[in-house]
Amino acid sequence: MSSAAPARPRFRLPSGMRLVNGLCGGWTALIFVFLYVPILLLVVYSFNASDLAVVWTGFTFDWYTKLWHNGPLIDALENSLIIASITTLLSVLLGTSGAWLLHRYRFPMLKTLTTLVFVPMVIPEVIMGVSLMILFSVLENPLNNLLAHFTDSEFGPGFVTVIVAHTTFCFPFVLVAVQARLADVDPFLEEAALDLGATPSKAFLLVMVPFLLPAIVSGALLAFTLSMDEYIVTLFTTGPESQTLPLKVFGMARKGLDPSLNAISTVFILATVILVVLAEMVRKINR
């Protein structure tokens, strides 16, 4: 056929297809309006002087200063930050070592283990929440009998249970991020280290970990956000002392409109934008 001639110009999509692409562009614009208008309205009204939330009566920062002086809310934020930080640390340790071993070693039950890692990612939060709630309540008495021999502190729903629960669903995300990076690792990188006299643990810590660092950082960002944002699993595993920010905000949102919530939301959105930009920067290094 004549179209096989070398002088053939670059293929152009038929006009029907170009029309489809154009329509998709218009559609995408509409969807972005749908996604962003509610969020932008939240931000705009967080600066509204009226507490009736609807009528615009003037610009104010009052709701933000009120937030700052809302003791229980700041406490909840502190709790959330503590929980998310420890969760992130544990997730990075478990996820990085896990990704490494699934990549590096072959042993019986490897497939079962690989599947098991994905379970916390796909299981609905409500199932994970209630099953951990039952586990912790079953453990409470025997563990406290045991603990009584050593210390005065008691085991019960609180920071420890929330952190354990959060780590359980966060670390697989770190693992997956690190696994993706490991897929393009040069297999001789580690071997070179071993040949040059490094022990396996040294080869891992001094050669592999720096190579995996961008993936570890993006996994850590993900774990931190997931933990900060978690509502359902926290609800089932928390105690009176470990109320987190999402629990507090949920309680406020149930009561109805409140300009303070607009202000909190704006802070959340700002934090999210910073985080996305940060993650994007890490992703660029990752390439």
Binding site: L13, W27, L35, S97, L135, P200, V249, F268
Partner: protein, 298 residues
């Protein structure tokens, strides 16, 4: 011995040594202790009973499951819990369907856009994706509530004289779910569209297929894995979700997640809650099994 040496020095994928097992133990223990054991206890609890004080009695019976499916008065199939489960599934299925219709063209446009614009568009999807579900849900509460933005606007323009109830309706629940899950659907579909080889589409046109036929015979099968991933990412969590449904529905027509939460935190009938939970788990397993089979046949 020599053979052993060669195996030892193969750089990748050998049997774990002491260091390997040391790395492995925490993760295996963690997964067993906090995933396998809790699920097993949940299963055991679902066959237990509770006494008047709310304590769990370890006495095997199918009673909890019977309560979910069989009406105790008439002895026929169908109870309030069955209705609620069905409602949750319908909400989730509707949400998934709408996300597919709304999201696919967006994923297509982003996936086929020039590299630079693609990154910007992708970031625009990422921001709502990363924003807390509480923010996204509260945004709609401020719009839909009786003294919210939409009602005030309609009253201001004299389109309505009295505010009407938009929040706390099934429509609001589904809207909340769609708004929350749409970015989650777009991302995996985008992933498969971005990987799509453009020359295959060209070939299809060269061979005389029109846009519709190309979509049906080339584009759809090749992006199917992304669509399946998107469906699973939306459908599965949407069934069990109760944060959004509680805020948008006000607990008037509860979803199965809300009922389970109630059994554990208020009614304190843990065995019955566990049976409801296990019913959900079986439902999810069926969905996964079905999609895995479907994926093999396509």
């Amino acid at each position: 011995m020599i053979l052993n040496e060669t195996i030892e020095t193969t750089p990748q994928q050998r049997r774990p040594g002491i260091f390997g097992w040391l790395l492995m133990t925490p993760m295996i223990l963690w997964l067993v202790a906090f995933v396998v054991v809790p699920t097993a206890i949940l299963l055991v609890y679902s066959f237990c009973q509770r006494d008047e004080l709310g304590q769990v009695v370890y006495h095997f019976s199918w009673e909890n499951y019977r309560r979910i499916f069989i009406d105790s008065d008439t002895g026929h199939f169908g109870t309030v819990y069955w209705t609620i489960t069905l409602r949750s599934v319908i909400y989730a299925a509707f949400t998934t369907g709408v996300c597919l219709l709304l999201g696919y063209p967006v994923a297509w446009f982003i996936g086929r856009a020039p590299e630079r614009r693609r990154n910007l568009l992708l970031t625009l999807v990422m921001i709502p994706f990363w924003t807390s579900f509480l923010v996204r849900t509260y945004a709609w509460i401020t719009i839909l509530s009786t003294d919210g933005l939409l009602n005030s606007f309609l009253q201001y323009t004299h389109l309505i004289s009295e505010p009407f109830e938009m929040l706390y309706t099934p429509g609001a629940v589904v809207l909340g779910l769609i708004y929350n899950y749409l970015p989650f659907f777009i991302l995996p579909v985008y992933g498969s569209i971005e990987k799509l080889d453009g020359s295959l589409i060209e070939a299809s046109f060269d061979l005389g297929a029109g846009p519709l036929r190309t979509f049906q015979r080339v584009i759809l099968p090749l992006t199917w894995p992304g669509i399946v991933a998107g469906i699973l990412i939306v459908f599965i969590p949407a069934i069990g979700m109760f944060g959004i449904t509680q805020l948008m529905g006000g607990g008037i027509k509860p979803t199965i997640g809300e009922v389970i939460q109630n059994q554990f935190l208020q009614a304190r009938d843990w065995p019955f809650g566990a049976a409801l939970g296990m019913t959900l788990v079986i439902l999810f397993a069926a969905v996964y099994w079905f999609t895995a089979r479907r994926q093999q046949t396509v």
